[in-house]
Symmetry: C2
Amino acid sequence: MDLKIEHVDDLCTGAAFLGAGGGGDPYIGGLMVKMELQAGRRIQILDPDTVPDDWLVVPTFMMGAPTVLLEKIPSGEEAIRALRSVEGHLGRTANATLPVEVGGINSTIPLFVAARLGIPVIDADGQGRAFPELQMETFAINGVRGTPLGMSDEKGDVAIILTEDNHRMEKIARAVTTRFGGTAYVANYPMSGEQVKRASVKHTLTLARKIGGIINGARAQRRDPFESLIEFLVTTSYSTAKAIYSGKIVDVDRSTSGGFTLGYVTIRADGGGLDDCKIVFQNENLTAKSGSRVLAIVPDIITVMDSETALPITNETLRYGQRVVVMAVEVPAIMKTPDALKQFGPSAFGLTDEYVPMSG
Amino acid sequence: MDLKIEHVDDLCTGAAFLGAGGGGDPYIGGLMVKMELQAGRRIQILDPDTVPDDWLVVPTFMMGAPTVLLEKIPSGEEAIRALRSVEGHLGRTANATLPVEVGGINSTIPLFVAARLGIPVIDADGQGRAFPELQMETFAINGVRGTPLGMSDEKGDVAIILTEDNHRMEKIARAVTTRFGGTAYVANYPMSGEQVKRASVKHTLTLARKIGGIINGARAQRRDPFESLIEFLVTTSYSTAKAIYSGKIVDVDRSTSGGFTLGYVTIRADGGGLDDCKIVFQNENLTAKSGSRVLAIVPDIITVMDSETALPITNETLRYGQRVVVMAVEVPAIMKTPDALKQFGPSAFGLTDEYVPMSG
C-alpha cells in the first residue's frame, strides 16, 4: 500500500497517541513527509509478513531532545547518511527501512528516508509505542544485534558504533548525540526479513493511521472518539483499551535531567469522591495511580488526551487547568513476555510496582 | 634499526621528559613493550625519510585519564582493534604506525602495536612533545585529515568517527572515551608516506631514547645530567635548552576538571633574592614565570626534574618539599609556524602572553 498525503495527519495524531506522552511531537516529521509526497515521491508501506527473508532491513530514527529539534530542523540527509554508514560497514544496501518506535516523531523519519531512497517502509516497529532508550526494543529481545549503529548530524559528522551490549550502545550513542548538539539521526538494528517477521511489533504504522483517523474524524462523524477508540482497539493486537480517569489538571512538575524529561501530572476528578490521579513520567508516562491504586503501568500505554478534541497531549505541553481524559491501552503479546518486561517493564524504570495488564 | 630491550627504559625516561609534566607515565607502556620483545617479537624503527610515498601509515595512541590507566591495564588488543577499524573503513591495511605524541605513554603504544602486527614504527610523531587534545597535531596543520578515527576499549566496543573538523573530532572522541570508562585506544590521521615526510616531527623516538640515556647514564658516568642534556639538545632540531630555575617546591594546586588535570606549582629559589617560579599546567606545563617575567611558554617544553637524579616529575606526582630543576627546551621549526602556534601556541590555551622562543 502507498502512503497518501491525506493519511499523514492521521498517522501523526495516532503516533502522538502511541507516544504515551513522549516520543516527540511528530509535527515536523509529518511536514517533511508531506513535502516528499508533494514532490511526487512515493512511500510504499509493506506488510511485514510479505518481506523476503533474505532482505536487509535497517531502521532509521532520530534521538535526543525533541525540544532541540524545533531549533535545528533536519535537512533529511542526516538520517540517510546514518543509514549509508551502516550499509558501508556491512558492505550491503538496505532493501527497506522501518521505525524503531511508532510513537511520536520516529514514526515519520523512515517514511522520509524511504521516499528519498525509493525503498519501502515495513509496517512494523520495535516498541509498539515510544520508549526513551535504544535497548528497549523487541528487536533486541528477539536476538537482533543493535550494532553496527550509524549516526549523523546536520554538519555531516558521522559516528559508527560497534558493541555486543545494547545498554552500552545506548550510553555511547547518547554521549555522541550530546556532542552532535543535542539531536542525532541514527540507523541501527540491521536485520534480515526473517528477523523482521519474528522480532517486530507488526502493523503499527497502519494502527497509528487508524487511531489518528478515529480521533480526527470523530467531530465530523459526531461520534464519541474515546468510545470509538476502545471499540477499534479491541479488534487489534492491542486488545484492551480503557478511559481510566477524567478531570482537570491541578499540578504539573517537570524537569530535564540526564537528557530526559522527568516529572508528574496530577488530575482531579470532576465532582470529587475519587482520589486524584497522579501520572509519573520519564519522557513517556510510566504509571497512573489514584491514591495507592495502580490504574495503569508501563509497558501499557498511558496517554493524556484533551477531553473535547481527544487530541493527545504530550508531556511538554501539559498545563494547569486542562480538562483531560486519560486512556490506557494494553500492549501486544510480544511486548509482555518475561524478557520484554525485563527490558521495558516497571523494573527497567526503577519502579517497585508489578506489571498488571489492563485486562487484569 | 630495531628497538632493543635495553633501550626501552631510556625511551620511557626521555618520553617523560618530552611530556612536559603531562602525557601520562610511560611505565606501563614500557612494560608492555618489554614483554613483546622478551617474547621474541621485533620492533623495527624506520627513518621517516625512507618511508615509501605510497604507504598507508596510521598513528595509534591512548586517550583519556592516565590515572584510570593504572586501574584498567590494557591487553593491547584495544589499540589493534582501533587500527583495524580504520583499516576496515579505508579498505586497506596499514604499512606502518607511529606516535601522535612522543611525550609520555603514547610514545610506547605504537611500539606495542608494531610488535604484535609485525609492521614498522616510523621514528617521528605529530607533537614533538605531549599536548592534551587531538587537533593539536603537526599532521593537522600540514593538511592530514584527522578521520576516519577508530577507537576501542577493553570490552571490545568500537566507535568510528568521521568529520571534516578536528576540533569536533576531539570533542566527540572525548565523549566516547568517557563512556568507554575513562580511557580509550585510538587510531586516526591515516596518512601516506609522503605526508609523513611533510607533516611529522622527525626522529623523535630516537631523540627520546637519547635524552633518557643521558639522564639514566649520568650517575654511572659521573656527569652532570643537566649540562649533558643541554649539550646534546643543541645538536638536534630542538636546538636550545636551558635550566631556567632551581629550588624547592613550596606550593602545589591541582584539580581534575573536564577530563584535564589543571593547576600550578610554585618553586622557591635557594638562597632567596629571586621571585618564586610559578608553573601553570593543563595536563602539560604551559608557562613558567618568575614574578611577571616569562621564563618559558608553550609550545616550548617545560619540564620539572628531580635536582638529584634529573628524573622528570610528572604533574600527578609533584609534592611540597621536592628539590627540583626546571628545564625548558625550544621546539623544532615545524612547531613554531604561525599555523602551528594557532593550534598549540599560548592563545590555544587561553593565555594572553605571546610566544617567545627560548632562544629569545
